[in-house]
């Protein structure tokens, strides 16, 4: 992606300096865009946007979308897509919620509560893994196209969530669990810390492991990947498995922050996750995309979303803006690539 020979020497040196960090040109321009969003929103909401309270609340809000976008990115790197991440997050969250409300005895001491919380966490992640491996199996073994397979499983997961809860919300978790979504550690929100851990692990997985290299090669050129001896179906399977696990984790964050679990909660995140991935430089055709790019893009989107909230935009206006943004960012990507290739 870094075609350095066209750049002036100064920029060339800068890119080379940043190369070990995997910062490419796209991410640099993204930083500028995010900065612009920050400035515009600060001007439109004087005094309110640039406040500690706002940034704190954004740090609580944005890890959910960020994790979902990272899961989306992973599957898009292989040239596929995972439409079932919200369904997976929902189902995992609801299972965890059931454990915390139905199984946990009302008079449980702190020790027992912690054990049950751990049990809920493990269940949610395991549920994510099962959902992800179902996707992976359908796509890599049965060879259904990712769009249809995950469209189907999305329905099934959301439907199961609906069947389990009968459409009602499950709420009232122990305080220690709520801390996962609302607590802070030395001033840093816990969801944000969780996001950082996942992002770093994922960056290592994509950039520093054999699996990651195979994954990106598969997305860049599937035919070449087959002929260079990569076990395509195994790589695909594991990709969707990891995406499912991340979605399961998101499910926990979602219910811990809102203190309630409901089927269909967070379905507006699907469009936003794809938007963030595309905005973050992930090519829908596969191969390109970085964890850093996606993270910066989420940050930008969160600035905009919080800013629009302060301006009291309706949800419908936001739906309109996200759609326009998605189209615009893809058109700009196309124009930039087109000019570079000439």
């Amino acid at each position: 992606m870094n075609d350095n020979k066209n750049n002036p020497p100064m920029m060339d040196r800068l890119y080379r300096l940043l190369d070990p960090l995997h910062i490419d040109r796209h991410v640099l321009s993204l930083f500028i865009l995010v900065g612009a969003a920050l400035v515009v929103m600060s001007i439109l909401n004087p005094g309110r946007f640039l406040s500690t309270a706002n940034f704190q609340s954004m740090a609580f809000l944005f890890p959910e979308l960020a994790l979902l976008s990272l899961a989306m990115m992973l599957t898009m790197l292989t040239g596929g897509i995972d439409l079932s991440i919200i369904g997976t997050a929902n189902l995992s969250g609801i299972l965890a919620a059931l454990i915390l409300t139905r199984l946990l005895p009302g008079n449980a001491g702190p020790g027992l509560t912690v054990i049950y919380i751990l049990l809920a966490l493990v269940t949610a992640v395991a549920c994510g893994a099962v959902c992800g491996s179902l996707n992976g199996w359908l796509i890599s073994r049965v060879k259904i196209s990712p769009i249809l397979a995950t469209l189907g499983t999305m329905q099934v997961f959301l439907g199961l969530a609906l069947v389990i809860t009968r459409g009602r919300a499950i709420f009232g978790y122990p305080d220690a669990f709520l801390a996962l979504g609302n607590g802070s550690l030395i001033g840093v929100p816990i969801p944000f810390i969780l996001f950082l851990i996942v992002a770093v692990l994922l960056a290592i997985l994509v950039n520093r492991t054999v699996f990651g290299i195979h994954l990106r090669l598969l997305g860049t050129n599937p035919v070449a990947a087959v002929f260079s001896g990569i076990r395509v179906s195994s790589v695909l399977y594991r990709t969707y498995l990891v995406a499912g696990i991340i979605a399961g984790l998101t499910g926990i964050l979602l219910i811990a922050r809102t203190n309630s679990a409901k089927a269909g909660y967070g379905s507006s995140y699907l469009l936003q996750a794809i938007l963030v991935a595309v905005l973050g430089g992930v090519s829908p055709a596969g191969g390109f995309g970085t964890v850093l790019g996606v993270s910066v893009a989420v940050l930008g989107l969160q600035f905009l979303a919080s800013g629009f909230n302060m301006l009291q935009f309706s949800n419908f206006a936001k739906e309109f803006i996200w759609g326009a943004f998605l189209l615009l960012s893809m058109v700009i990507n196309y124009l930039v690539n087109h000019r570079r290739n000439k």
Partner: protein, 330 residues
Amino acid sequence: MRKILRKHECLLLALIVVLCAAIGIKNPSFFTLVNAFDLLKSSVTLGILGLGVLIVLVSGNIDISFPAIAAFSMYVTCLLVPALGFTDHIVILFVVSATVGCLLGFLNAFFIYYFNLPALIVTLGTGSLIRGCLLAFVGTRIITNLPSSMVEFSQACLFTQALPGGETFGLAASFPIFVVAAVLVWLVLNHMLLGRGIYALGGAPEAARRVGFNIRGIQFFIYGSIGLLAGLAGIIHASNMRNANPRDFRGIELTVIAAVVVGGASITGGRGTVLGTILGVLLLVIINNSLILVGLPTEWHKVIIGSIIIASTAVTAWRARGRQLSTVPT
């Protein structure tokens, strides 16, 4: 003979017959003319949308913006036609709505063709854009005083028959529209060069380009026609519901895509027939309407529809396996 029996459509037909027999045994009221007409009426909207999705799937792409297009053109037509003082005639309503839908479809084609973008993501974007525009800028109010021609249209019946109680029933007047649309789509897909071009585009885009098909024209036709069909479906839906609700059609894309995929169309393109789509729609409508007759709670709908998508795509993928040259996933 064996070749005919092994066709996907035959399999579907057998499935429908078995399903009907099973439901009929459980609940004999299934086998009445009233129920049959009712099933046909419910399949009109889904069927018309399904024909549009079929065209897109055959071309190897997907469109998920058509529910938003249907809602938009329906709502705007119901607002505009009385406001502009057009003659209150059902044909005019259909023409206006279909035109609006067609233009919105061209918007999709514009992004997909000129910027070479994946249709899934473009239509995700335009769907959100159109729906957001409708609800944020046009209106959120449900229009209950529809143009009177729409109300008349929803009451019009063919083959009217009298029930013992004195009430009459008949086949909905919207059903012939579905039939005409199906015949037209069949003619285009099977008997026109344009249709061959759509199949070619789905089978091998690069080959279609080199052979000299007008890819731009084909793309605009594909997305224009799904928009047009969505516009028609919008008016039929509103007249059946006796109101125009801008929030309608949300989530219907999954059911429609499921119906078309069940009908044997493959999302990787190049395969799918009108007959298969009609049977797929019928199967889904029967299942949808009969879950209640059989006594299954409505919460299970989503799970069942999702399972049907997975099962039928698995069958299609499994059948395609022999034809695949390499193990490259598509």
